[in-house]
Symmetry: C2
Subunit: 348 residues, 2 copies
């Protein structure tokens, strides 16, 4: 991944500079600053899965694949900006969320009208720009037209799936069954698929002269499973993660009341009294440290935390077997093993 | 236009049915209903400008051009949904705005959490789906790859321009100069260009074997001017329009405090006392009928209304001369004349 990062970052930097030049119209400077902040961090997982899919199916190490893979970071950045508006989150990776940046700009400039409305409006537009650009950067990567044409239906499907998954998430929070199965379905559609399986599939399809059955087997056997394990790890970090690493206050997912797989397991295993406590505390915006500690205690005592850790282990085991059985190149097999571990490890 | 409408509507209906089948997953039914409502009305101006650009440059009457042209309605629908979230508008074409639909669904179902937040979140996602689909429908229209490739940079540019224009609009409302020139710039970028000039250019470029100088001359000479006149008419209808026609309460733009070209002309021409009145009343969410009447009176008394009507006439005159001088086919010339009139007429 460390080989990939500088290439991905250079491609992103060049593309954004072309769209919104730093020395261009001053009116757009705040959009550029917010875009740069969103694109500056992260593990670059999605480009890495795409790149190693490409290499695994025999693609060579050409600059065009870095551009195509890097475009997935624009899609991710778009989803993050809109997510933070929808969740009314204040922080993203320890920095103010985009809508809060725009809101502060409005307040500090003492402009007319509602600063909050300005902030949210500007963030919606920034998210739209990033979404549009992700498609444009992908298409203009310079890869052969036949490769791009073969992968385009996957690309289109991935984006519709992501938006529909986020909509399912809203429904699940508002009126879901809150079972492990319903939380898993949301997690897969909203995040798992477009974080692992689809980027990998894009790389494989781009490189493959024709789509072979083993590609779909690898996407399901390895991609789907790593995606679920990735999301389970995210559920755990949202409750037990170190704020210095997650960039969010401790227990933030609890305060937001997210109906995760971890919460579903907890509710299923809790005594009636403990379950009542969970329902009472979960989603309380004023939840303090002692409330977070109570919830953490219940999640550990019910065995839900242990169960989710075990599930991560099981999914990883199955994923790595599927990877072993696939005919990807040795170099890609080793990189995809490392990537799966990095995506699901205890460190963010 | 009446020839075009059924074709555009059939293409849209088929595309949306493919993406979100009416008999598909019940969870997505509200997205489908909201999309159908957004796509059910309107003058289909953008597809018409695109179609007549294509025919004007010698394109033949093939079904693929209807699909490509119809995709512009998806982009427009996306912009409307997000606009209504950003402006917190209640109505769109006399019906509840998309975010209000989702909000009502949440309230009536007595779901958990904030109904407003659910409504806005769902509408942001619906807008994203429509935005993604507009690009997909365009690319998969079936037009020759070389045509699509030639037009793609125009398509990409149009969408970035639209989002940047909407951002300029937010800035103008918050801290603009509120001069006629600044309002004109916003109107062009936010609406005029993607309503007239760019759809026309897309059609011309799709059809032209190579891009000829007369095409750009027509886009500027006719397209830009019709776009400005279209926006001036929109400014006037926002203040003086009949609610039965506009689908919005009378004087809604005044209540929202929109800094239009019409308002800029009024402020420039008003006496200090009248200008102070305008500034006090404009943007008052509780503005009643008598307040609307006062503002309308000032807009008429300053001569601003007359000036804007005259400007529409001037721009239309110049636009139709430019059209006369261009080598488009006779049939296209006649259709583009009718279209310019329809886009700028007193009836919505």
């Amino acid at each position: 991944m460390d080989v990939l990062r500088p290439q991905v970052e250079r491609s992103l930097g060049e593309f954004v500079e072309r769209k919104l030049p730093a020395g261009g119209d001053a009116a757009f400077a705040p959009l550029r600053t917010a875009a740069d902040a969103l694109l500056s961090g992260g593990k670059r997982l999605r480009p890495a899965f795409c790149y190693w899919g490409w290499r695994g199916a025999g693609g060579t190490d050409v600059p065009e694949i870095f551009t195509a893979a890097a475009s997935l970071e624009l899609l991710q950045a778009s989803a993050l900006v809109h997510d933070d508006v929808m969740d009314k989150s204040d922080l993203r990776r320890g920095m103010p969320a985009a809508h809060r940046r725009f809101e502060s700009m409005h307040e500090q400039s003492r402009w007319q009208g509602s600063a909050q409305q300005f902030g949210e409006g500007a963030a919606i537009l920034l998210g739209n720009l990033l979404l549009i650009w992700s498609g444009e950067m992908w298409r203009t990567s310079g890869l052969p037209p036949a490769s791009l044409e073969a992968a385009q239906p996957v690309h289109d499907h991935m984006r519709t799936e992501l938006m529909c998954g986020q909509y399912l998430d809203l429904l699940e929070q508002a009126n879901g069954e809150n079972t492990f199965e319903s939380a898993l379905r949301v997690a897969l559609f909203k995040s798992g698929k477009y974080s692992v399986e689809q980027p990998l599939r894009l790389g494989l399809v781009l490189a493959g002269e024709k789509r072979a059955p083993w590609m779909d087997e690898l996407c399901t056997g390895y991609g789907t499973r790593v995606g679920i394990a990735f999301q389970l790890r995210d559920d755990i970090l949202g409750v037990f993660g170190d704020p210095a690493q997650t960039g969010k206050p401790a227990g933030d997912d609890l305060r937001e009341g997210k109906r995760t797989m971890l919460v579903a397991r907890t509710l299923a295993a809790a005594s009636p009294g403990a379950a009542q406590n969970v329902r009472r505390l979960l989603g309380d915006p004023g939840l303090d440290e002692s409330g977070v500690a109570t919830l953490r205690g219940i999640i550990e005592d019910t065995g839900a935390l242990r169960e989710c850790e075990d599930l991560i282990g099981d999914y990883m085991g199955e994923a790595l077997s599927a990877l072993d059985e696939s005919p990807v190149t040795a170099e890609a097999r080793s990189a995809l093993t490392e990537l799966a571990i990095a995506a699901t490890s205890r460190k963010t």
